[in-house]
């Protein structure tokens, strides 16, 4: 049991440890992926700690806001003007940490 080579929990299991009070009415971050099509760096894909940015076969970016840590990494690394519009979720919604 205490073998360090024991495989890591899957990313889904990792994210399942975090409480998210999802606002079903509004996505607090939106990605205009017509802008992303011209982006060569796509830093958001590797940098987002919640792995919410997924490249699509069509060359765009698929983004899910539900499991967002609201950390700000994505808009800070985004080098394409206007691709990410970033706000905080409505009060009371979003991530809720308990043991951080």
């Amino acid at each position: 049991m205490t073998d360090s080579t024991y495989p890591e929990i899957s990313f889904e299991a990792r994210m399942a440890t975090v409480e998210f009070r999802v606002d079903a009415d509004r996505a607090h971050i939106t990605v205009d992926d017509t802008v992303c099509r011209d982006c060569t760096t796509r830093g958001c894909i590797t940098a987002c700690p919640a792995n919410l940015f997924v490249p699509t076969a069509a060359g765009g970016i698929l983004f899910n806001y539900e499991q967002c840590f609201e950390c700000g990494t994505c808009y800070l690394v985004c080098n394409e003007e206007g691709a990410i519009s970033w706000t905080y979720p409505e009060g009371g919604h979003g991530v809720v940490f308990h043991r951080s």
């Binding site: 975090v18 590797t46 609201e70 009371g92």
Partner: protein
């Protein structure tokens, strides 16, 4: 028409300290928090240094929610599977008046906000401040996302965290260059109390703080391990531009740290209780926004008050220090009925004469130095190599001598003596 004497946005350590001081000065203050409870949006690298609380909350250690008192502090340099640790233990830190403590931010922040509420502040949770209300260039309140959500006051203290949209909206935060920021990711792993005591060599309320350099692959940054009562926090701090440049994702880098032979025996076998992430204003003094505007003050992470100076990694104490100073300055200005930028500038002067800006100014070069190539690659590689050559007994070969070992290792890892001396001098200057 004002609803309150002051509005504090964000019930983190800075906001709660500001609200506490305002309420104690007899001012009506509204403390806005976007999370359902204070601290629910916050995570950190693990240690709260309580000295700043001595004046604010005498006897704080008897009431503050604490996981463990840090009595052992290690700095670890990692290169491939080797590690060199400088380990300092001081049992005295485990008794009053204490030094650093590990605590969960939702517990700690709620406790501090509770003190502000007890002093008379009005805490409103689940309410996001969406913008500033301005009249003729001066800030006169905030907009919130509640119906009829406008709130007016002669002074607004923005403690809305590292992303501080309020400071940006007020035009006080011109440079949001990704290079100034890092992202922290952390796992809290549950382990039985006895197992933690045994693995980390501590007892009772004693705890450990391990800071690690060289564990982040190609991404400049650092790592940490902290002990809580019945869990261990292990995490990384990663430079944003390098992380975005491609390669490995944060959780993969974290997996490698957890699998390192020096770390695995400490953290393995437990169950992940929570994964968390947060952005850190890494560059400190060099990225600080304007702290004072007409009717507005900025404190805490919103003002980049986090000190990421390598050997010193502090934030909560700087947040409390700046927040309390903002609260006191605002209270005085409200009493004199003048909350213009000129009057509120007392806040900046107070910070300059306190540890908050004094430390930040003194250590202004440190964050850059720690994130530099020599500290990130050269130092851990050479240090681990030197240790290996020093302590590997190669009988019947004679011992090579320390000077030769250092020279060989520096050459092997491409560290030129000239650069090492230059960086060493810079470090001496930077750390004063």
């Amino acid at each position: 028409m004002s609803d309150f004497d002051a509005i504090v946005v964000g019930a983190g350590p800075a906001g709660s300290a500001a609200a506490l001081e305002l309420a104690r000065a007899g001012r009506s203050v509204c403390l806005l928090e976007r999370g359902p409870t204070p601290g629910s949006k916050n995570m950190y690298g693990g240690v709260v240094y309580g000295r700043i609380l001595d004046t604010l909350v005498p006897g704080w250690w008897e009431q503050m929610p604490v996981q463990r008192w840090v009595t052992r502090r290690s700095t670890m340099l990692i290169h491939d599977d080797r590690a060199l640790t400088v380990d300092f233990r001081h049992p005295g830190w485990g008794a009053a008046p204490f030094n650093g403590a590990t605590t969960f931010r939702p517990d700690f922040d709620a406790w501090l906000a509770g003190l502000a509420v007890d002093a008379g502040a009005s805490l409103v949770c689940s309410t996001t401040a969406t913008g500033l209300i301005r009249e003729g260039g001066r800030v006169v309140g905030v907009r919130t996302d509640r119906p009829d959500g406008d709130l007016r006051a002669p002074v607004v203290i923005a403690c809305d965290g590292v992303n501080s949209f309020l400071a940006k909206e007020a035009g006080m935060y011109p440079h949001t260059d990704a290079a100034n920021f890092t992202v922290g990711v952390k796992e809290t792993i549950s382990l039985p109390r006895e197992v933690i005591d045994e693995r980390f060599g501590v007892r009772g309320e004693e705890g450990v703080d391990i800071e690690i350099l060289g564990c982040t692959g190609d991404v400049p940054g650092g790592g940490f391990v902290y002990t809580n009562a019945t869990s261990v926090a292990v995490g990384l701090v990663l430079s944003l531009p390098a992380l975005a440049a491609g390669g490995d994702r944060p959780e993969e880098l974290l997996r490698r740290l957890k699998a390192h032979p020096a770390i695995a025996p400490l953290v393995e076998g437990g169950e992940v209780l929570e994964y968390s992430a947060h952005v850190i204003p890494e560059a400190g003094y060099e990225m600080m926004p304007e702290l004072v505007g007409d009717g507005i003050l900025v404190a805490g992470d919103a003002a980049a008050m986090c000190l990421a100076a390598g050997i010193w990694l502090e934030g909560v104490n700087f947040a409390i220090g700046s927040g309390a100073a903002a609260g006191r300055a605002a209270a005085q200005c409200i009493a004199r009925n003048d909350t213009s930028a000129a009057a509120l500038a007392a806040y900046r002067r107070a910070l300059e004469s306190s540890f908050v800006l004094a430390d930040h100014r003194k250590l202004r070069a440190a964050p850059h130095l720690v994130m530099g190539d020599l500290a990130q690659r050269g130092l851990p590689a050479v240090a681990c190599g030197v240790m290996e050559d020093l302590f590997t007994v190669r009988n019947p070969e004679p011992k090579p001598g320390v000077r030769r070992i250092v020279r060989t290792q520096m050459r092997r890892h491409g560290v030129r003596a000239r650069d090492a001396v230059r960086e060493g001098l810079r470090a001496l200057r930077a750390f004063g």
